[in-house]
């Protein structure tokens, strides 16, 4: 009888020693398969703010290109008011993470224009998916470009059901327009807030605010950027706000600000950045 008892115990131990790693393996395997199911092509799509052209990010891209190990080719799109698209630049054959800048012929400020620009972004986006056959991408918006992206993610991304967004970063995006109030009330904000359920729940999102003084970056009030938390928090997986101060923190300088470039490299592009930049970014995230 005693011998039998031992046998059962050994049997049980062996069973657990097989089943537990087997289960773990199957989870890892599924994850590997999932990653393998994603296209190698994963562009970084950028939308500039109002009154800015498709060339708005040239200095940023140049700045990014200085240290990044991999050169990104740049494709620029301009969407006309009738939805037709003009292309300039090109994506190199072996570049799987190209930069694509989407500008608009009508790039004026104001809620009515931003609503239209989100629709045009959708037009451009669908054309890009069709041409380059990617199923995941990263998005970056400066100023009102961030609002256009947010509207797009809330309302129009579901029209491309096979495409998912990996990361999203907005730089000085005024979720409450020019209002300096700490309680957001503008119609733009209300619209963004109303459709927030549509945001992909797996989204990792970074909102960067620049401050020249304690209240704004000279153009966009800090409180307006800060209003983004009401839209994103509890809707997306990760929402992180970063405040950047110091030299070159006026609104229009922000995209090529060295600190922001560092943030873009580590958090949007998920590059393997040097420890110096990593530490600097870490301080920034904790210091806010």
């Amino acid at each position: 009888m005693k011998r039998n008892w031992w046998r059962w115990l050994i049997g049980l131990v062996v069973l657990v020693a097989v089943c537990w790693p087997a289960y773990n393996w199957s989870r890892t395997n599924i994850k590997t398969l999932k990653d393998a199911g994603r296209t190698r092509m994963a562009p970084v799509i950028m939308v500039p703010g109002s009154s800015a052209s498709q060339n708005r990010f040239d200095s940023l891209i140049k700045e990014l290109g200085k240290e990044t190990p991999q050169k990104h080719s740049v494709l620029k799109l301009t969407v006309a008011t009738d939805g037709s698209i003009k292309y300039s630049g090109s994506i190199k054959r072996n570049d799987y993470e190209p930069f694509i800048v989407v500008g608009f012929e009508n790039n004026k400020d104001g809620k009515a224009n931003i609503d239209k620009q989100a629709v045009w972004l959708n037009t451009a986006f669908k054309a890009l998916v069709k041409t380059y056959r990617f199923n995941h991408f990263r998005a970056m918006g400066h100023s009102n470009g961030g609002l256009i992206w947010t509207l797009f993610l809330e309302r129009y991304l579901k029209e491309s059901p096979k495409v998912t967004i990996d990361r999203f970063m907005t730089i000085a995006s005024p979720y409450n327009m020019e209002s300096t109030s700490s309680t957001p009330t503008t119609s733009m904000y209300k619209e963004l807030y109303k459709y927030r359920d549509g945001l992909p729940s797996s989204l990792t999102m970074y909102s960067i605010a620049g401050t020249e003084n304690y209240t704004s970056d000279g153009t966009v009030p800090y409180n307006s950027v800060n209003a983004g938390k009401y839209i994103f928090q509890n809707q997306v997986k990760h929402f992180t706000e970063v405040t950047v101060t110091g030299a070159n923190t006026t609104h229009s300088d922000l995209p090529q600000n060295k600190q922001i470039v560092a943030l873009i490299r580590q958090y949007l592009l998920e590059e393997n950045v040097p420890n110096k930049i990593r530490k600097q970014n870490q301080r920034r995230l904790q210091g806010q």
Partner: protein, 438 residues
């Protein structure tokens, strides 16, 4: 109930009667003779395919290739062992069958066996060898048919050669303890006619077959699977027929055709794509395929749910031969290598064990089908591999769904229940009569 009992008894009597028939005895003796080689081969297969293989179960779960030094060399070494031991087993079978047939008629069994082995290999000549094309397959024999899948053909050749020797060697063979050259030459003279006749007959058959089937006689057997099963409207009937035919083939010693259909078919790939995109196997486009029903749930311990047979034997059998075979064969059976049981018990050519061997997988497939139809569990969509323990396949193939594991366990229990009465009947001959069971 009594009519079932009666039928079972008749089956047992038939089984015993068959076993006493001369040619059938030769077959059974041969299978038992093969047992040690097949058993060793099965353990080699476990090492080669479950441990030292890219898709081996143990390599997957313990990441062996990452930390075992010389993993690739181990893989090559065990592959060499596996090919040498397992993939030539039918040649031994051809030798042994003719040997046993002729021995019982007191003729020269050694020469008959050797002739039979030669004839069997000749039937598997690769006629592609003569092809002028550049990409012609260079090997001289169809090596694939010399392993366990060739046992049926080897038995046929052995029986026919044995028959020829029994009829045409006029002088009885007198066995000598110490052979002399004179006696050996005498044996050659006495058996020249059956040797030449056997070689002539089988060479003619082999040559003739080459015009019909480039893959030899075995190629013709496998052509049966290209029958238009898929024209049948209901997919479950197709799956039933295909697996029934396959398991029948296994029973007569054509071991191989669809033992495991693999992860490659279009419907399986579609299921995988769906599961990856949606993060779950629920609602996969092809819930009922031969892969999701048969591979994953009706193949526990190899075709015929043979792990259930082992459980039934170890639990209830009083047949010491059965117990010995089961005790030595359970480990490979966990990784779905059941060949030691097929030749050891033997299951091959046993009317008694053939019935549950065919029924148990059918029952498992019905249970699985019902569970899938009623959405009790998601279908198997993630890849499963041949050497995964059978009762874990459903669980791992659904990405860790406990209900699938439960269905596997139920299947195993039901299959054991199906095997059990046949083991009890077998007990009666061992204990010498149907006294207390009825």
């Amino acid at each position: 109930m009594s009519s079932i009992n009666k039928m079972m008894n008749q089956l047992q009597r038939f089984d015993t009667a068959v076993a006493q028939q001369r040619y059938f005895r030769a077959i059974r003796d041969t299978l038992t003779l093969l047992f040690p080689f097949v058993l060793v081969g099965a353990f080699i297969n476990v090492l080669n395919q479950a441990v030292f293989s890219k898709n081996g179960f143990f390599n997957h779960i313990y990441y062996l290739s990452h930390w075992i030094p010389g993993f690739k060399l181990w893989s090559q070494y065990t592959t060499m062992l596996s090919i040498s031991v397992n993939d030539l087993i039918a040649v031994i079978a051809a030798f042994a069958v003719a040997n046993f047939v002729v021995r019982s008629t007191n003729r020269d069994n050694l020469l008959a066996g050797l002739t039979s082995a030669l004839c069997f290999v000749m039937l598997n000549f690769n006629f592609d060898f003569f092809s002028d094309q550049e990409d012609a397959n260079g090997s001289q024999f169809l090596e694939g048919n010399l392993g366990s899948q060739g046992i049926f053909l080897a038995i046929l050749v052995g029986l026919l050669t044995g028959w020829i020797f029994s009829k045409l060697a006029f002088k009885p063979h007198d066995h000598q303890l110490i052979e002399s050259r004179t006696h050996l030459l005498q044996r050659a003279k006495n058996n020249m006619l059956p040797i030449i006749l056997s070689l002539l007959i089988f060479s003619a058959i082999g040559f003739g077959i080459s015009f019909v089937s480039p893959m030899g006689l075995n190629g013709i057997f496998y052509a049966a699977f290209k029958l238009p099963f898929n024209k049948i409207s209901h997919i479950m009937i197709t799956i039933f027929l295909a697996t029934l035919l396959s398991n029948l083939f296994w029973l007569i010693g054509i071991i191989g055709p669809i033992s495991f259909s693999g992860n490659g078919s279009v419907s399986t790939v579609q299921n995988l794509q769906y599961a990856i995109q949606h993060g779950s196997a629920w609602g996969a486009p092809n819930p009922i395929t031969i892969h999701t029903v048969y591979d994953a749930f009706a193949n526990v311990g190899g075709p015929g749910m043979t792990l259930a047979l082992i459980i039934a034997i170890l639990w209830q059998s009083r047949n010491q031969d059965f117990r010995l075979v089961a005790k030595t064969s359970w480990l490979p059976a966990i990784f779905n290598f059941n060949q030691p049981l097929l030749v050891g018990l033997p299951i091959l050519y046993s009317p008694l064990l053939a019935v549950p061997f065919l029924l148990a997988p059918m029952a498992s497939m019905v249970i699985t089908w019902v569970a899938l139809k009623l959405s009790w569990m998601p279908p198997v969509a993630y890849p499963i591999y041949r050497t995964m323990p059978g009762f874990l396949m459903g669980w791992l193939g659904t990405g860790g769904d406990w209900r699938a594991l439960l269905v596997s366990v139920i299947n195993l229990a039901v299959a054991t229940a199906i095997y059990l009465p046949f083991i009890l009947i077998n007990n009666r001959i061992v204990t010498g009569g149907a006294d207390h069971e009825a």
